[in-house]
């Protein structure tokens, strides 16, 4: 399976998560890209990534600007944006990463279990080199969100 095969599952998965638990609508999706030229600067953003393993293994991440993260956190926690501590915003972004990935990976094969690592903050976006990498972006009514997925090459996870 390629990253593009997983990437096509991401928009619907993200929409489901955002609607159900973050009370946010997806307004538009951007085409899949293998570079991050269109992604907002990570300096003003929160970025998280995790590893998934199962029938397909790889990494999933997301990046969103501080303002977007705060609005989503307010919706998720049911609190006012100004009352939420930054630590809480960061935790919510981590949980968002977890739910986005879980929802997408669950669609790969309904009968197969998978394991997600704990989401961790990252300082830079993955670079398209020899990896099978796809970026998927979306515009929501809380702000833009960028996700990415890397699929391990066949057999790579067995070497780890």
């Amino acid at each position: 399976m390629k990253a593009s095969d997983v990437a096509v599952l991401i928009p619907a998965a993200c929409k489901e998560v955002l609607n159900a638990m973050y009370f946010t609508d997806v307004l538009a999706e951007t085409p899949q890209e293998d570079t991050h030229e269109g992604v907002p600067s990570i300096v003003q953003s929160y970025a998280f990534a995790l590893k998934f393993s199962g029938d397909v293994s790889g990494r999933f991440g997301l990046c969103l600007e501080h303002g977007t993260a705060r609005r989503l956190a307010a919706n998720f926690l049911g609190e006012d944006e100004t009352d939420i501590a930054e630590g809480d915003v960061i935790e919510v972004v981590g949980e968002l990463t977890n739910m986005f990935c879980g929802s997408a990976v669950s669609q790969i094969e309904s009968g197969t279990k998978f394991v997600l690592s704990h989401p961790q903050p990252v300082q830079q976006l993955p670079a398209a080199s020899s990896e099978d990498l796809i970026f998927v972006g979306m515009e929501t009514d809380s702000g833009p969100i960028t996700t990415w997925v890397v699929v391990d090459k066949a057999g790579a996870h067995r070497e780890n």
């Binding site: 998720f76 879980g102 929802s103 669950s106 094969e109 197969t112 279990k113």
Partner: protein
């Protein structure tokens, strides 16, 4: 009758959301307890009366699978209902957790009404229509 409910998840944010849904749905709660993983949950269970455990699966130290098995193998805890709340939407995982002894399974993301319905099913009573 007030119910003591234990929420087990390594995400503090998710624990807050689950606790908020519990409070809003009108279940008569006594203590809303928390734990960050299965090991912490067992410590709580062995020191507090708990009427329902709500647990994630992927957690450090001890995951939800092991926690359910430990609860079912402990004569003092075996009758406590367990509701699993997980990002894994696969049928295989759900069947596995129910076979291990979980009494219900909700996948994330979930609608608050879904969680409320399961709470009332496992604790008894009619769901609040707030949702």
């Amino acid at each position: 009758m007030a119910f003591n409910i234990l929420v087990v998840d390594d995400s503090p944010a998710m624990r807050r959301v689950v606790k908020r849904v519990i409070e809003i749905c009108g279940v008569d709660t006594g203590k809303l307890l928390e734990a960050g993983d299965g090991l912490q949950a067992l410590k709580v269970l062995r020191s507090e009366w708990v009427d329902l455990v709500m647990t994630d699966i992927n957690m450090p130290e001890m995951d939800g699978e092991q926690l359910v098995m430990e609860i079912r193998e402990d004569s003092m805890l075996e009758s406590i209902p367990v509701l699993v709340i997980s990002t894994d939407q696969s049928e295989g995982r759900m069947k596995q957790m129910l076979a291990l002894g979980a009494n219900g399974y909700i996948s994330k993301p979930f609608q608050p009404a879904t969680l409320s319905g399961e709470l009332y099913r496992l604790l008894g009573g009619a769901p609040n229509e707030s949702f």
